[in-house]
């Protein structure tokens, strides 16, 4: 372990090229995060093909830097434009924008940046401690446990679906349906290939995600071309020091810890990302405040809660990704694709088979969080100018890079058709108000569930009582049952209240 840690450390922290990649990745990520309509996911999509010829540590360090920069960058437009740059910064608008209107934009930005940094550090800290333990624990997992885990993760779709459970489930099942194309697990029978050799390998995760998020975003923009949105940008921002006093910092310690824990916890849960964590921590901060009525009027507590939580969720989302191979949100789903491209197989054995890469990721995340702090403080004036970037020029270039990403991964133009197809599917689902995130979960967990369910069917045939010897699986099934029951009950109650029944 020590030699792997040292190798991971030296290959990131002592390699000037990797450091340069991390700094560039964070800067680009901040740009993508700050421009409304561009997200951290798109930053990873766009720059993934550039990492194809890099070593695994160089490539993955770049991707995590983009991720950290992308999540943090959302605060800039949230405060200066009152438009969240990413869904993770929705709650930052609530108090950030009123502060900016009161002439305290610099203070709001300083607080946002610093507590984003703290949140990231706390998240990475938990990731470093928990992920090896979880991986060690997950080594005990067999078919029963993976089957139960996949079912548990799929059950989170119910929590994700919000008000409309039916549409959430449709989305998740559609994801699982797309994943059935190609060769079946275990017996490699061709399914839904219709005689096309290209379909035998199935749809690649990257093709699926690029189409779903990047292409559908371009089409959504095309819908709004004639709306001619105009933003008022406050450009004269200058942060003196950190932008806040030591006393103000001390007053936020409890809020920071609570928000970080919420962010990490939400990040760990499959499919629920920073968007939910910032709202939950904002609500928690408001509920536990002595002056809840001041929330939304421009107080620092709201910004601290939102920015700490959304950045802490980065570390949280990386925990199931690395230890179990289950992504925590859309960006980590892209990272899963990135890890696969670089021949790193996430899962319980990752610390045995790719330990230097994993420790390299930890070090890269730490360096990226410091880079984010420095770049955002020093480059704030530049980022406010970037908010004016004309997306009508940028989005076609993103489509081109998406095609590079799809084709470059497997050297076949067929995958470019794949991203167009999933772009169409994504756009159709958005128009039908069907959420996209459950579909990612379905696409990733569907095959995992099928493989292990079929293994379980064989084990069950040999020994019908074998299930009783798997306590971890039993616990997972029980937790799944409780989660499903509670969420369905909450859903029914919410619907009844809405319809006044």
């Amino acid at each position: 372990m020590d030699s792997a840690l040292w190798t991971g450390f030296t290959s990131v922290a002592l390699d000037p090229f990797v450091l340069l990649l991390i700094f560039c990745g964070v800067a680009v990520g901040i740009v993508f995060g700050s421009v409304p309509g561009l997200t951290a996911t798109m930053a990873v999509v766009m720059f993934l093909p550039m990492t194809y010829t890099m070593t695994s540590i160089q490539g993955i360090s770049t991707l995590v830097a983009l991720y950290i920069g992308g999540i943090s960058g959302g605060l800039i437009s949230a405060i200066l434009l009152n438009i969240p740059g990413t869904p993770s910064s929705v709650a930052t608008c609530f108090d950030g924008s009123p502060m900016a209107k009161k002439g305290q934009a610099s203070k709001a930005l300083g607080i946002g940046i610093f507590f984003s940094f703290l949140g990231t550090l706390l998240g990475v800290g938990v990731l470093v401690v928990v992920s090896p333990m979880l991986a060690q624990f997950a080594i005990k997992f067999g078919a029963y446990e993976y089957c139960a885990l996949a079912l548990f993760s799929l059950s989170m779709v119910i929590a994700l679906s919000g008000r409309d459970l039916t549409k959430g489930l449709i989305s998740a099942i559609l994801g699982a349906v797309w994943a059935t194309v190609g060769l079946a697990p275990i017996d490699s029978r061709a399914r839904y290939t219709f005689g096309y050799v290209e379909l035998t390998a199935g749809f690649k995760l990257l093709v699926f995600l690029i189409g779903l998020f990047a292409i559908s975003e371009v089409i959504r923009y095309a819908e709004k071309v004639r709306s001619d949105e105009h933003y008022e940008i406050q450009e004269n921002v200058h942060i003196g020091g950190l932008g806040f006093t030591f006393k103000e910092f001390c007053s936020q310690i409890g809020n920071t810890i609570r928000s970080a824990l919420i962010g990490i916890g939400i990040g760990i849960l499959p499919g629920i990302g920073g968007g939910v964590s910032c709202m939950l921590s904002y609500t928690a901060a408001k509920n536990s405040s002595k002056d809840p009525e001041k929330f939304g009027t421009g107080i620092i507590d709201g910004i601290v809660a939102s920015e700490t939580a959304n950045n802490a969720s980065i570390g949280g989302a990386m925990i199931p990704l690395l230890s179990l191979g289950i992504p925590g949100d859309a960006v980590t789903a892209m990272l899963l694709g990135g890890l696969m491209v670089h021949n790193v197989a996430p899962g319980p054995l990752i610390f045995d088979k790719s330990a230097p890469v994993v420790y390299g990721i930890f070090i890269a995340m730490l360096i990226a969080s410091f880079a984010m702090l420095v770049i955002e403080f020093l480059g704030l004036r530049l980022f406010t100018k970037v908010l004016k970037v004309p997306k009508n020029y940028l989005l076609p270039i993103i489509v081109m890079l998406c095609c590079v990403g799809a084709i470059g991964d497997s050297n076949r133009v067929f995958d470019a058709w794949g991203i167009l197809f999933f772009g169409l599917v994504g756009f159709g689902l958005i128009k039908a108000a069907i959420p996209l995130t459950p579909m990612i979960l379905g696409f990733i967990l569907g095959p995992m569930f099928e493989l292990n369910l079929r293994k379980v069917s064989q084990l069950f045939r040999m020994n019908p009582l074998s299930f009783m010897e798997r306590p971890i699986a039993i616990v997972f099934f029980l937790v799944t049952a409780v989660v499903v029951f509670l969420n369905i009950r909450a859903n029914i109650r919410a619907n009844a209240q809405r319809t006044g029944v």
Partner: protein
């Protein structure tokens, strides 16, 4: 509107799931030694059935809400005109068409040329009518395509289609 949207969505998904279930008959199930009790056709049929049931819920829900409690007219239907539809949505339609043409042209024209043409055309579509600048769009298209080609193909060694012109 949202109710009729639910109904249409339900019908589309129901049609898809029926086709999905129908084509599951083409899965050649392995029955030799070591075959699992649940075959390779089990999960597609399971997912297909679930999808069909959920789409039925969506259709029923949409239909039920469309019937107004007072038994009145659910709303006047507007006649559908393809010309008006195109005029109102031409940016979206052309974006799909251009991406499709771009992908189709990648192999015959090559990555660089087709990318330059695509970016040029797409920028024009994504720019509001009064603000279009074809010269700038062309420059951006050519510069972006050649820079990407240089960066990925020449510098990073990523394999991209060359086309008949060899670039």
């Amino acid at each position: 509107m949202s109710q009729s949207k639910d109904r249409i969505t339900g019908i589309v998904i129901a049609t898809f799931s029926v086709l999905y279930l129908y084509f599951s008959k083409d899965i050649r199930v392995f029955r030799g030694s070591g075959a699992t009790p649940l075959t390779s056709a089990f999960m597609p049929r399971f997912w297909g059935t679930c999808l069909l049931l959920l789409s039925a819920i969506l259709i029923i829900r949409g239909g039920r809400k469309l019937v107004r409690p007072d038994g009145g007219d659910p709303g006047t239907r507007r006649s559908f005109s393809p010309g008006e539809f195109f005029r109102n949505n031409y940016e979206v339609i052309l974006t799909f068409v251009f991406i499709g043409m771009y992908v189709a042209m990648l192999a015959p024209l090559g990555f660089t040329l087709s990318s330059a043409l695509y970016i040029f055309a797409q920028i024009l579509v994504l720019t509001p009518p009064g603000k279009r600048n074809p010269k700038l769009a062309l420059v951006v298209g050519v510069v972006a395509a050649f820079t990407t080609d240089f960066l990925f193909v020449r510098l990073l060694g990523v394999l991209l289609p060359h086309g008949i012109f060899g670039f």
